[in-house]
């Protein structure tokens, strides 16, 4: 039996699966029964599932349960089926009941609605009747209301007319009680009516009230202009006038003009101060510039001015612009006066005094008119003024010093003979430099010491300016020096100042003086000024650190040292140039090849010596003497001199033919080779000896060069020999560097011998004799000038 069941079971199951897969949307549920079939226990619960299979259930039940179980199951099932039937029955009953009650309700509503239509119509009728009644009432009351309204308007009009008729008296009352504000209000209230009917019905009334208003206006104007009234009252008056359509602008302009006039008066007054200070600025009385009376007057007037400005400002609220301009004008005027003073020379005290006055004015103005920022404005102006002052002080100083120096030239022109003109001028110039600078510094210090707010603010700037000023001053001074010495030919700037100098030839003495003055400035003046500046002008900070201090003494020192050396060089050159001209004439004029026998020392030697004398005279006045170096030098060089010059002087005397002269030339060359090289061109120092010696050496060298350019006959050579020998005796004292001088003198003779066709020197006795004669002659001349 079991073997039969299995194929049949398989077939049925496949059919069912196919079906369930067809009906069921979910294939997985279709496979469930396959599982169920393998597990026999779970299958009894499928009775409530949708895939319940009654046959299978039955088969399962039969296979699984015994009879007893089956019976029991049967009983259970039968009971369950009965229960389900009852439940179903109950549900049907309930639904039926509900349906019946609904039907009842609908029937009842139908009955109720039938009576409503008639009620509604009744209501409509009633409302229509109410409306018609109310319309009736309205029409019956309309006429009366209109009448009442007309009456009311007439009454108002009457009241106004009454007011207009009363206006003149009322205004009069107001004027009497000075209640101008009310009056104006009334008048303005009446204005439209006057405008409309003024020409016809209310003519008299209008005229009367206009008269009253005229009085009011006049009173108000008076009030505005009267200084005794309180400012509020005046401002109010202006307001009222404005309401009355009075041309307030005119008033404003007038008032402003009054202020301006005030300013002009003030200006005049400050001019007066200026005048006073100018007269007091004489040489004796530098002290008090503004005498107390005038300063007091100024103070009171400026107070007045400030008050007026304040008033004006309150009265015309939007007039700052004008007032600011006015205030600035005031400051400008002040500084113009300062400017005028600076143009003339003025002391810092005076400047300070003026600044003080200005500052007090400014403070006042600032109080009255903070918008003007008048203190800033005046600060700027004061800056300019102080700057200008510093600059002008320096330019005055420069002029002063130049003037002192130029006295050399002037004296020369006038022909004043003094024993030491150069020396005195040098001293004067030195004093001018140092004293001038010190005075200037003192002056500026006063400026700094002032505790005035204005100058405190400017303190740093002032310090910088002073430092810069000094730097600039010395630069200019240096330029001026170079210009005066004729070194710089760039006369483009300061032409006007130096035109007088340019035309004339530069005096060598002046150049020497400038050289020494430069040295003095470098060595004494600058250190002193530096010290002074360091002690009182050091804290200038406005310039910024990256630029360093404005006053750089090292640079100035360097400049002046260079200038001093340049001037000294220039002096030497000027002097040698003069001598060169002399020598050139001497050597280019005669025909040396046809020279006559020498009879005496040539005149040019005298001229040469004269020149040296003049140089020594100048140098002695200006340069310091050398300190004990002479001995040393002479000693060390003495030996070379003798070894060098002996063969020349002694040996040559005996040689007469050219052959010997030739060998002698060789000899001198040899001697030159072994001799220690004589320094001819040494650096010039700032001493009498150095300068004189340098010039001497240069001139002797020139002499040598001139000789080399000529060709001599024997006589010419002898003339040169004679001249040089004489020079040798006379120049001994002049030169500090004896060795070099001697050497150069020898060189001249050698050169002449070389350039001589027949170099036969003069015999020593004749030479000596001629020199003796000359010496005697000069000493005689010196005795009897």
């Amino acid at each position: 039996m079991g073997s039969d069941d299995v194929p049949l079971d398989d077939k049925a199951k496949r059919m069912r699966d196919l079906l369930s897969s067809f009906y069921s949307p979910d294939p997985s549920s279709a496979s469930m029964p396959v599982n169920n079939t393998s597990s026999r226990f779970a299958t009894l619960d499928t009775i409530n599932t949708p895939s319940f299979d009654a046959d299978q259930y039955m088969n399962l039940l039969i296979q699984k349960s015994n009879l007893e179980g089956l019976l029991q199951k049967h009983v259970e099932m039968a009971a369950e089926i009965k229960n389900l039937d009852t439940d179903l029955q109950m549900l049907v009953y309930e639904n039926y009941n509900k349906f019946i009650s609904a039907t009842d309700t609908i029937k009842r509503m139908n009955n109720n609605i039938v009576g409503m239509e008639a009620n509604m119509e009744q209501l409509l009728d009633k409302i229509i009747s109410v409306q018609s009644r109310s319309d009736g009432v309205n029409t019956s009351l309309f006429e009366k209301r209109e009448h009442i309204e007309k009456l009311h308007r007439t009454r108002n009009l009457l009241r106004k007319v009454q007011f207009i008729y009363d206006l003149p008296t009322r205004l009069g009352k107001c004027i009497r009680s000075e209640a101008y504000a009310d009056a104006v209000r009334f008048y303005i209230g009446a204005m439209p009516i006057f405008k409309a009917y003024g020409d016809s019905s209310f003519q008299d009334c209008k005229r009367a009230s206009e008269e009253a208003v005229g009085i009011i206006t006049k009173n108000l104007q008076g009030k505005v202009f009267s200084d005794s009234e309180s400012i509020q009252a005046r401002a109010e008056a202006v307001m009222l006038l404005k309401q009355l359509n009075f041309p307030v602008e005119n008033l404003k302009v007038k008032l402003f003009e009054k202020l301006e006039q005030f300013l002009v008066d003030l200006h005049l007054e400050s001019k007066e101060i200026a005048h006073v200070s100018a007269t007091l600025d004489g040489p004796n009385n530098h002290g008090n510039v503004t005498d107390p009376a005038s300063s007091a007057a100024h103070e009171s007037s400026i107070h007045e001015f400030a008050e007026a400005i304040r008033a004006y400002r309150v009265i015309f609220p939007d007039s700052e612009q004008q007032l600011v301009r006015l205030a600035q004008d005031l400051v400008n005027m002040h500084f113009e006066a300062v400017h005028r003073h600076i143009k003339k020379q003025l002391q810092s005290e005076d400047l300070l005094e003026m600044l003080r006055v200005i500052w007090s004015d400014v403070l006042l103005m600032d109080e009255v008119l903070p918008e003007a920022a008048i203190s800033d404005f005046s600060l700027v102006a004061a800056r300019n003024a102080v700057k200008e002052y510093v600059a002008s002080t320096f330019s005055h100083l420069l002029l002063g010093i130049t003037g002192t120096i130029m006295k050399v030239q002037d004296r020369q022109k006038v022909g004043v003979e003094e024993e030491y003109p150069l020396q005195s001028v040098l001293e004067a110039s030195k004093k001018a430099v140092i004293q001038g600078c010190m005075n200037v510094l003192l002056d500026f210090r006063q400026l700094l010491d002032e505790k005035l707010e204005l100058s405190l603010k400017l303190r740093d700037l002032t310090i910088d300016w002073v430092q810069e000023g000094f730097q600039e001053f010395f630069r200019k001074l240096n330029e001026r020096f170079l210009f005066l010495s004729g070194k710089s030919n760039s006369g483009s700037q300061d032409l006007s100042l130096t035109q007088g100098v340019q035309g004339e030839k530069v005096l060598p003495g002046l150049v020497l003086l400038l050289a020494q003055l430069s040295l003095f400035i470098e060595q004494s003046a600058i250190p002193r000024i530096t010290e002074e500046i360091a002690s009182s002008f050091s804290s200038g900070g406005a310039r910024g650190y990256e630029y360093g201090p404005a006053f750089i003494p090292a640079v100035i020192c360097r400049t002046f040292r260079a200038a001093g050396e340049k001037c000294l060089d220039h002096y030497v050159r000027l002097r040698t140039q003069k001598i060169s001209v002399l020598l050139r004439k001497r050597f280019t004029t005669p025909n040396w090849v046809k020279h006559k026998e020498p009879r005496e020392v040539h005149m040019f030697v005298d001229l040469l010596l004269q020149e040296f004398e003049a140089i020594r005279g100048e140098v002695k006045q200006i340069l310091p003497p050398e300190l004990s170096r002479k001995h040393h030098r002479t000693d060390s060089n003495g030996s070379t001199t003798s070894s060098r010059s002996n063969p020349l002087r002694d040996d040559r005397m005996n040689r007469s033919n050219t052959q010997r002269a030739r060998s002698q030339l060789l000899e001198t060359h040899l001697a030159k080779l072994f001799k220690q090289k004589v320094e001819i061109f040494t650096k010039i120092e700032f001493t009498q000896e150095s300068v004189v010696t340098t010039i001497l050496k240069l001139c002797l060298k020139s002499l040598q060069e001139f000789v080399r350019l000529q060709t001599f006959n024997r006589r010419g050579f002898q003339q040169i020999q004679l001249d040089i020998e004489f020079l040798r005796t006379t120049l001994k004292d002049t030169s500090e560097d004896e060795a070099a001088t001697d050497f150069l003198l020898d060189e001249v003779v050698v050169a002449a011998a070389e350039r001589c066709l027949d170099p036969v020197p003069l015999d020593q006795p004749i030479l000596d004799k001629l020199i003796q004669v000359k010496v005697a002659k000069t000493s005689e001349q010196n005795l009897n000038p």
């Binding site: 640079v555 040698t576 060169s580 050139r584 060298k701 020139s702």
Partner: protein, 350 residues
């Protein structure tokens, strides 16, 4: 700045004043130097710088009848040169040719191509046409300016024009403008005169006394350098003659001669009676050069003096740049010593 002994020396037998670069010799750096001796037989030396540049070789030694005061080499023929000579009262100028076969002769004679006769006062200098082959020569005596036409093949020289500068001017030398061949600058006692050769008239002058020597800048037009006794070296713009645009201090004593470098603008040599040769670099002036002399300038200004060669025993009168090797110059001091130096190490690096 001691000169030291960097130069190469060469000794002439006698004293000497003039030396000239042999411009036409393009294969060698050579110079002509001439002696100045009143009593001995004077010589002209042809000196050549050896190819390694370490030695000066005497290429030729020619006797010359009189002492030589001026010497100029012909710019187009290396064998031709001119001299100005004198002896006692007599004077003369001539153009010479170095003989072809001088190597074989013992004491070769110079061949006189032409005598520049026709001067009635002391002759000062002879100028050749600045560059290239040209037959023009100028000779200057104390009073006159003569323009010659020289024919080297026919060996003749003829005066083309002769113009007197006036009795009292005492001309002393001159320079031919390399940029304008019609212009010559002449020094005289009290001024520098500019002459136009076409009309032979003085066109302009600078009143500036005692100019010893002058030279045109080869590279920069309108630039004239002058040397004078007391006040050193001045550099002029020939269009603005009121002021020199630059002054150099010059020498401790007279500045005798100046020579502009043929290649480098502003490079100037000067020789002086202070036994020194100075090398200058005149920096081109900027517009505000006059106003720039402010306080700061001493520190900033470049020293125009590049070097001073001081290793001389006597005054230096002769100076010549080599045109072949423009960094080399020869100097001649009065004691007859030629020194050739190179300026290369002193030139500013660029």
């Amino acid at each position: 700045m001691q000169g030291g002994s960097t130069g190469i020396g060469y000794g002439l037998k006698y004293q000497a004043r003039c030396i000239s670069d042999v411009k036409a010799d393009t294969d060698h750096t050579s110079f002509l130097a001439a002696t100045l001796s009143l009593k001995e037989e004077n010589e002209v030396h042809l000196i050549r710088l050896s190819s390694d540049g370490n030695e000066l070789i005497c290429e030729g030694l020619f006797s010359h009848p009189n002492e030589i005061w001026d010497l100029a080499s012909c710019p187009f023929d290396q064998r031709i040169f001119s001299t100005v000579f004198s002896s006692g009262e007599s004077y003369g100028a001539a153009v010479w040719q170095i003989p072809e076969l001088y190597g074989q002769l013992n004491s070769p004679q110079l061949e006189r191509i032409a005598s520049l006769d026709g001067h009635d006062s002391k002759i000062r200098s002879v100028l050749w046409w600045p560059t290239g082959r040209h037959d023009k020569l100028i000779s200057i005596d104390e009073q006159n300016l003569l323009l010659w036409s020289l024919d080297t093949s026919k060996k003749t020289a003829q005066v083309q024009t002769k113009e007197s500068a006036g009795m009292l001017h005492y001309l002393s030398g001159g320079a031919w403008d390399p940029h304008d061949v019609n212009a010559v600058a002449i020094t005289c006692d009290s001024s520098i005169q500019f002459w136009d050769l076409r009309s032979m008239t003085k066109t302009n002058s600078i009143e500036h006394a005692h100019v010893r020597n002058l030279d045109y800048d080869m590279k920069k037009k309108y630039t004239l350098v002058t040397a004078d006794d007391e006040f050193g070296i001045h550099i002029w713009d020939t269009r603005m003659l009121n002021f020199p645009f630059l002054e150099l201090p010059g020498h401790a004593h007279w500045t005798w001669t100046v020579k502009c470098n043929p290649e480098i603008e502003g490079l100037i040599l000067s020789a002086g009676t202070d036994s020194a040769v100075n090398l200058w670099l005149a920096s081109p002036p900027n517009g505000d050069h006059l106003t720039s002399e402010s306080l700061e300038s001493p520190t900033r200004q470049v020293d125009p003096l590049l070097n001073s060669y001081t290793d001389y025993e006597d005054s230096v009168y002769g100076l010549a740049w080599s045109s072949r090797q423009p960094w080399i110059f020869a100097s001649l001091s009065y004691d007859g010593r030629v020194v050739v130096e190179s300026v290369k190490s002193h030139l500013p690096r660029k």
